[in-house]
Each structure stands twice: as structure tokens, then as C-alpha cells.
Symmetry: C2
């Protein structure tokens, strides 16, 4: 395997390939982005300045059609948190990257000429092109223009106007197998980092590429089949996720008082029945047309938790419509309409912002009285303001902490500057431990335990539960796997076996865990050097002293207990 690194310097407008260092040989996904951020980015670097780097990495099994193995990890120092960040998404970009022979693409330097650039990666290497024609265009239009030029099969990585304007909620999109540019690495403002670099899109054209064969191809195929059978046989990955997608989570969280509602004031939403997995499934199926209750976002995905949500006429409105969006743009704002959330989601996607952070920001604005909770028309007007770049829109698109500061709000549902996803922390304490302790800030993808069979509103065992989830999910992130496969895995032996078949290596499940724990430590160490201490490993004050009315509980895991969590 001859994976390489493509290094792109936006200050000097140079592109060069280089060998993957031997010490990075088994680093991929988040393990690689975090290691490279640690190795190459000064902890004091201004996130939007010339010393930050934006790092794209695929997984160790990327480029194959093994299910769920083609997540694209993107890392940098986050302008939202000020700490290390990785955010990953499905889509086809990582698949294409791997087929092009790159384990990572590193984007360095910045542009201050207000120019827009496009990176085209093909079998001939990488090339930067001036792309001012894309400036200010929505992600949908940008993708359409790039498809015209590069065909329908190219992998695309894109930012929207929000990223170009370096707004802190800006994410980075890539396209799914049908070309929809709606698979988002949404969190941490990584789109703003890309925007500061003047890079608006990457085209990954693998035409004519012949990927290196696996070290033991037959074994890889056999192990792949074994893995696929695990996914198909598990009730969650085989039936539940394909049918309901992520939205089925809402039945669980709402039932236990853990669905963020009214700026995280409470944990149960009266309108949840109109938003949850069942409602979503029935709406999609009954409307028919272009709607699809299940959809694969990555080549070969068997879990197919994605969907296509149609409008009343059956035309595609947004794809996918997911749990976090339904929670943050729905229940958290007391908006109980799938159509309204879907419209807002579509606007977020086109503008290129993180629906979680936007939902947290609008919740704070509603708490401040800028608009009423539950007012669908006012909510959609605000989303239009955002897309139109009004000052209010820019405030919202700067995330929930900035919004809270501008409006003098003290109940800020954020950790380390990043808004919370759709798990109310007093009701689902294990996930809240992840919010508090992860280097990523409040982030369910760093280790969500909402599906664990525990009493979520009690504190007992939550630190250990979160730690286990952080390592388990961290391992999937390091391999480029989707975290949705987790329920199907008793342990990670099958993952190690597939990696070994591909690389001719002899990694054990323990080796993978060790590698994961090492990079989780590295992430914390980067943050320590950037100025984070245990004082940042806590929830906002009000979660400790105001009870969730649905559970009667506060967040009562002490700083000392949280400090026990080490990797």
C-alpha cells in the first residue's frame, strides 16, 4: 500500500505529494488528523490564521466497498472551541481520496486576497485553480457547477457562503453516491478554516486510477463478508437503523426526559410525536415520490440510516433529515413540524452551517426573546436572515456562545465553546460526561451512550460508561468507520482482521485500542498546550443547579469524578 499525503499551501499556491511517514502507517481518520494537528499546528495558532492547517484523512479501509468504512475525517484547530477538532461524515469523498492514493490532504497557509480557489486532485496529482466564479454561491449551486465541469462521479468537498465568510458554524460538505452535497463534517467551524484558506472546493476525480491491491485480497473479501453478515444480523444495524435512521433516537430520549427542549430547559417535548422516527418514516412513505426512508450515504453501506425527505408533492426537500437536526432545530426550539425543520435544514445545508450549532444558537436567541419559542414563521424568517447574511443572521451563524454574549444570555448549552447535540445532559449523564471531558467539546460523536441499558439520569457508572464509549467510537473514527456499526460489534477483532488483510499487518484488537487511546491522549495534550485545563472539563453552571423538570435531576458528577476519566 503506497498511501501518500497531498500537501497544499494556499499562501504560496503550491501542491505536492509526499510519502506517508512510516510512523503514520496505521494512522487514519481522526487518529491521523489529530496526530498531524498535534505534530504540525502550533497550539497558539489563531484558527483562522496562517499557522492553522486543515487536514482531510480517509480510513484504513477507505476505497473499498466494505460497508461503513468510508468516513471522511477533517481536522484542524477549531475556531469555535480554540481546541483540536475532528469532524467526520459519510459520502464518497474518502472513497475517492483513497482510490487516488492519498491517506491525507493537508491544506496550509491562508489567502488574504479574497480570491477563491479550487483544488483538483486526479491521477496526475493535485492542482489549484482560481475559482472566483464559485464565490458566494450556495453549496447546491457550487456542486452543480462542479458536476458540469468534472462529471457526476467526482468526489466533491465544499464549503458554502458561511465558510467563505469564516463564520464559526460553517461546516464542510461532501457528496453522496447520487451527488447530493449534503454529507456534513459540521462541527467546530472547520468550514471557516477552509474559508480562511481561500479554498472553496476540492474535486476528487479518480478516473483512470488503479488502486493498489490489498495484501491479502481473498482474506479481505472473506472478512468483509463476515463483517457484513454481522451488520445484517444485528437487529439495530440490520433492521432498526435502515428503517428509522437516526431519528428513532427521539422516542428514546423523549421517553427518558432527555430530548433538549426550549433551550435545554427541559427534556420532553409535547410535539415529539410529530418529529420522531415513526413520524418521519410514515411521512416519507405516505408522501412517496422522491422520498426514501432509507438510503446509503457511502458506497456499499448496508446500514443505510440516511433518508430522503420529500415535500407534500413528493419532491425531495432535504436528504438526510437526522435526529440531531430534529432535536436542535425542532424540539429545542419547540418547533413540532417535520416540514419546517426540513426547510430549515435545507437552508443550513445550502449555506453550509452545522444544524446542531445553529439550533443551539437560535435556542439562546429565543431564550433572549429575539423570537418566540415555537413560532414556525419567525423561525423560518430567521433562517432566511441567516442565509441572506443580515447582522442578526451573522450572529446566529457565529454559534450559540457568541449569540449568548450578544444577547446577554447566561444559560448557554455549550462546552468548550461548542453547542450541545440532542442529548439533555441532566437526563443522559453518560453522554454529558463525554461533553464535559472530550477534547472536542460538547459532541455526541465523541462517545454517545444514550442507547446503553443503564439508568441514564443516575450518576453511577457514567464516567466509566463514557470512557468506554469514547474509546470504542474513537477506534471507529480512527479506522474511518461509521459509528452506526457499533451495536453490531462485540469487539473489534473483525475490524483488525480486515485491516490486516488489506495491509498485510498483524494488528490485534488491543493494538487498535492502544492506538486509539494514544491519539485521544494526544488530543488532550494539544488542548492542554492551547490553554485548556480541568476547569474546562465541566458543564455550564446551570445544569448543576437547575433540575431537569422531567427527571428531577441535576448534573451531579463532580469535577473530581470527571477527572478520573483518562484514556
Amino acid at each position: 500500500m503506497l498511501d501518500r499525503i497531498l500537501r497544499v499551501n494556499m499562501t504560496h499556491l503550491t501542491v505536492a505529494g509526499e510519502p506517508l511517514p512510516q510512523e503514520y502507517r496505521y494512522l487514519a481518520g481522526r487518529a491521523l488528523t489529530s496526530r498531524m494537528v498535534f505534530d504540525e499546528v502550533a497550539p497558539w495558532a489563531e484558527p483562522l490564521g496562517p499557522y492553522n492547517k486543515l487536514i482531510f484523512a480517509c480510513g484504513l479501509l477507505a476505497g473499498t466497498t466494505i460497508s461503513c468504512a468510508n468516513r471522511l475525517s477533517i481536522g484542524a484547530k477549531s475556531p469555535l472551541t480554540g481546541g483540536i477538532k475532528e469532524s467526520n461524515a459519510g459520502g464518497i469523498a474518502a472513497y475517492k481520496m483513497a482510490r487516488l492514493g492519498y491517506r491525507a490532504i493537508v491544506v496550509e497557509g491562508i489567502r488574504e486576497d479574497d480570491g477563491r480557489y479550487l483544488l483538483v486532485v486526479s491521477k496526475n496529482g493535485g492542482e489549484l485553480r482560481r475559482a472566483d466564479q464559485l464565490a458566494g454561491k450556495g453549496i447546491t449551486e457550487k456542486a452543480a457547477l462542479l458536476r458540469q465541469e468534472f462529471g457526476t462521479k467526482a468526489g466533491l468537498v465544499l464549503i458554502g457562503p458561511a465558510g467563505e465568510q469564516r463564520l464559526l458554524t460553517a461546516g464542510i460538505a461532501n457528496n453522496d453516491p447520487e451527488g447530493r452535497p449534503t454529507r456534513f463534517s459540521g462541527r467546530g467551524g472547520l468550514g471557516a478554516v477552509m474559508g480562511a484558506k481561500g479554498l472553496v472546493a476540492i474535486v476528487l476525480d479518480d478516473t483512470g486510477c488503479v488502486p493498489a491491491e490489498a495484501a491479502r485480497p481473498d482474506e479481505l473479501a472473506a472478512k468483509g463478508r463476515e463483517f457484513h453478515q454481522l451488520l445484517l444480523n444485528n437487529p439495530q444495524t440490520g433492521e432498526y437503523f435502515p428503517k428509522y435512521g437516526t431519528a428513532a433516537m427521539m422516542e428514546i430520549t423523549n421517553a427518558i426526559g432527555g430530548l433538549p427542549t426550549r433551550n435545554f430547559r427541559t427534556g420532553r417535548f409535547a410535539g415529539a410525536d410529530n418529529l420522531n422516527g415513526e413520524a418521519l418514516y410514515q411521512t416519507i412513505v405516505s408522501r412517496g415520490g422522491e422520498g426514501r426512508p432509507t438510503h446509503a450515504c457511502m458506497p456499499g453501506c448496508l446500514v443505510r440510516c440516511s433518508n430522503v425527505y420529500p415535500d407534500r408533492e413528493g419532491r425531495e426537500l432535504v436528504a438526510p433529515l437526522e435526529y440531531e437536526t430534529l432535536g436542535l432545530l425542532g424540539s429545542n426550539l419547540e418547533i413540532g413540524s417535520l416540514d419546517v425543520v426540513a426547510k430549515a435544514n435545507r437552508l443550513c445545508n445550502d449555506y453550509g452551517v452545522d444544524t446542531i450549532e445553529i439550533g443551539c444558537a437560535i435556542g439562546v436567541a429565543m431564550e433572549a426573546g429575539v423570537l418566540p419559542f415555537g413560532d414556525e414563521a419567525a423561525f423560518l424568517r430567521l433562517m432566511e436572515e441567516m442565509v441572506n447574511g443580515t447582522y442578526l443572521g451573522r450572529i446566529i451563524a457565529s454559534g450559540c456562545v457568541v449569540t449568548a454574549k450578544v444577547f446577554g444570555v447566561r444559560r448557554i448549552p455549550a462546552v468548550k465553546g461548542q453547542g450541545m447535540p440532542a442529548y439533555e445532559p441532566r437526563a443522559i449523564k453518560g453522554t454529558a460526561v463525554t461533553y464535559a471531558t472530550s477534547a472536542m467539546g460538547a459532541d455526541h460523536t465523541a462517545g454517545n451512550v444514550a442507547r446503553a441499558n443503564v439508568k441514564h439520569h443516575l450518576k453511577d457508572g457514567q464516567v466509566a460508561l463514557s470512557r468506554g464509549a469514547q474509546i470504542k467510537i474513537g477506534m471507529l473514527d480512527a479506522l474511518g468507520f461509521c459509528m452506526m456499526i457499533a451495536p453490531a460489534l462485540k469487539d473489534s477483532t473483525i475490524l483488525a482482521e480486515m485491516v490486516n488483510a488489506r495491509f498485510g499487518s498483524t494488528l490485534s484488537a488491543q493494538d487498535l485500542e492502544q492506538l486509539t487511546r494514544q491519539y485521544l491522549q494526544i488530543e488532550k495534550e494539544f488542548n492542554r498546550r492551547a490553554g485548556f485545563t480541568s476547569a474546562h472539563d465541566r458543564l455550564p453552571e446551570h445544569f448543576y443547579d437547575e433540575a431537569n423538570p422531567e427527571t428531577g435531576t441535576v448534573f451531579d458528577i463532580t469535577a473530581e469524578e470527571l477527572a478520573e476519566l483518562a484514556y
Copy 2:
């Protein structure tokens, strides 16, 4: 001496006096506010939440007419920096507080009912009154209404609409001997803390108070005369400051390339001759009318560095007009008109915001292209937007870091979240060391060395110079003295002698220095517990790698050298 503490709880609407603890006996001013914040405020407290406290303290010689001894210190955990904060100002409030027998007023808890309250302190103790009639009114009108009710002699402590809205640039004003409510504890957003507590004003009515006599009154009088002679005999405190006030600083900084210009891009402003001390003096004198080139902001002040700036018709436009304002709302924005800066200053005063932070924020907005540098009309329109509370106005009134985030600007002239005052850090490196290392964030009042006879653009000796200034000014802050007396003091013996005459104590100059070093350490320790590390003791990245065009120098004092600064 029976100084007491007045404790006000805004959650429970209670007021009670209590004895000053023996261990606080010689703590006053900033030494007392910082010690009480350290002792009573949890380092994790949300600054706008119920666990923060706002502490007002006078000096050890407050209540006397000893020159420059009546500064009012205000302390809290800052919503702007997230760290400990003290900001002090002249005016008559500390004088009145001391005559009422209070060393400190501690305001605890918050109001969430959107009610407005007034604290009235008289010889009968303290009383909270509902004051919704003051809601939303400018500081000028609030003060006028309070004067109608409480007479012209009462000490007033006030916030404007900015504080009521909990905006991060909000300061706290008190009144001067003629009743102008324009002496600002501007820095750190302390007005937002007061606003979160629902407290819009404090009235200090010392009618009928008979302050306790000094322990050795004749000695105090004699030492006071000796001290006053020192002030009168020194060329700076005796002649230069009374004539030119603080604005004379501009000739110095502009000459050495240290006058912030164009969002701190450079250090010399072509229009400085229209803004500097000489221009200010000549304009005031030539316009006559209500204008005064010199003015005492505190009872008995001999230095009289304040002024009254008149409009073309000779009517008072603003009082005072000071160097920091001329730098931040003038040169930093390339605004070269005293009248324009004065108008903006007047608007800031009435709205109740810090002119330094506002100037930094607008500089960042100009860098982003929101309005052009040097455009006087656009600048004044923006100030009107701020006062009118438009969304853009709220962004600006949230300070320069928030403004930079909303507009995607990477050159942010701030340390620990607080905008820099009018000393360009690459040209005046000793003051920049203070910016980097003080617990207060970028703050010249924590230890400014711009007047020192050194080569300011060279790094040699700057750490030691800053340390000496931080301790020297810190001692004045601890005693309630104005830092403008510093040039007249060879050492602090005379200060100790006056304190001893008043308290019957035997403090030495060394004791005062020891007490100062202790509280400076306590401030750092509070910040450490709140999550600050040496990573925060640095300037923004661009000052290290972009030279000040006027000096050709970057800020080149290393983290290791800065780390040597200890108190």
C-alpha cells in the same frame, strides 16, 4: 476606624451590614475586591449568573480630601475575559462610601424578573428600591432623575442601557464633584454583571454622617500636606498633567510609532496633530465657554488631569476627553477630528460602554469592511446604531473578540478577551508585557511603562520594567490612589505614613509592597482555577509575525521570558 461591609443580595432583595473581617483590615481598593472575589466567587461561576459577585471598594484614605485618594475599585469575575477583574475610576462615590463607613459593598445573586432596582445607602444603612422608572434610560437621564430625588451631593454609581442589556462592553459610571456621571470603571464588562443583578444604580447619601476621626489626625494632616507638596513640585503631576491631561501621551506614542492606528496595523497616525494634547488644549482654550482644560474628578485632586471639552458654541460636549478614547476612537479608526471623537465619547458615556473596547471592536469591523477606516459620518452612524441597539450595534457593544468572530477577522487586538488600550504592543513592549501577563487582560492600568525612559521597541529589560510597574501601580490600586501620582513618588513611604496616621498602624513601604504582591498572586491563582494557563499569557499571533511599519519591530519577547514575570 470601624469600616464595614454592606452586603446586598439581589436574589432575596436583602441588605445587611457586617463588620470588616480582621484579615481584610488593610485591604482596600483592588486588593480588597480581588481578595473578596477570590474568597467568595467560585472560579467556575458564570459571570452573568447567580454565583458571581460584584464588589465595590474604596481606598484606605478614602473619605479624606487627600489628593487622588478616592478611586472607586469595582471587582468581579469578568464576562469579557472570564477571569478576575478590577476596574477603578475617580469621581465622588468612593469618598461618599468611606464617609458612610463602608470599605466595601458586595452585590450578590441575580434578578431574572427583568425588574430594575436601586440601592440607597445612607446613615441608616442600605435599602433596595424598585426602580423600573430608570429602565432603559441613558446614564445622563438616570443621573438627572436621581439628582432630583436625592439632591446634587449624593454619590451615584450607575449603569446605562448597555449594562441593563448585559453587553460585554458595559462599564459602571460614577459622578464627579459637579455631578457629571462620567467617571467610568469601563473595563471588563462589569456593567453587565451589575445589569444581570438587576441593579441599575447605587445612591450614596452621606447626609448626617460623621466619619470616624483618624487615629493621629494632626499627623495625617501634616503628611497630607507633604504629599501634596510632592505632587505640586513634580513637573509632571504639578504642571504637565494639569495642563494637558492624559492626552499629552499622544505626542509620545505617535513619535515612537506606538499610537494604535488602523486596527493596530501600524503605530503612527497622520492626523495625530489634530487629536493630541496640544490640539486638545488649544481647542478647549480657544472655544472657551464651558470648556476647561483642567478639572478635578475627585474631591481635593491637585493633578486635575481631567477636562471639559466644549463644542464650537462653547457648550460642554463631553467631560473628560482622554487619551485612551482619542487613541481607540480616533487614531485606531483613522478618525482625526476631536469633535467627532468627542461626540462618539458622549454617546458611549450615555449608553454606558467602555470607549477602549468599543474602539477596538469598531477597528475590527473596519478591518472587515463593515465601514471604511476614517469615515467620520459612517463612524457616527455606527455609534447611533449602537445606542439604538440594532443588531450591528449589539455586535459592536459585545466587544472586539465577538465582533471579530462575527465578521471572521483574524487580527484581534485583545489579550484574554479584552481589547488593547492605546499603546501599540510592538512599539511599546513593556506595556505589551503587561497586556500579556496581567490577570486583567490587555490593560494599561495594570502597569503602563510608556513614559519610562527606555527604548520601547527593544525587548531588553521589558519584563522587569513591566513587573515593576505592575507592582507599583498595583500598590496605588490597593490604596485607592490614582495612578497619575506615580511620577511624583520616589518610593511609597509617604503613602505608608498617611495610612499609618489614619489607622494608627505601623505599615512600612515594604509591607505595602508585600500586600500588593500577595493580591497580584491571588488574582493569578483565581485565573488559574478559572482555567487560565501560561498559554493565555501571550499576544495575538499577528503581533509576533507582522512588523509595526513605523518601528520595523515585531513583538519578540518569548513565552519563556514572559513566564519569568512573577510577583
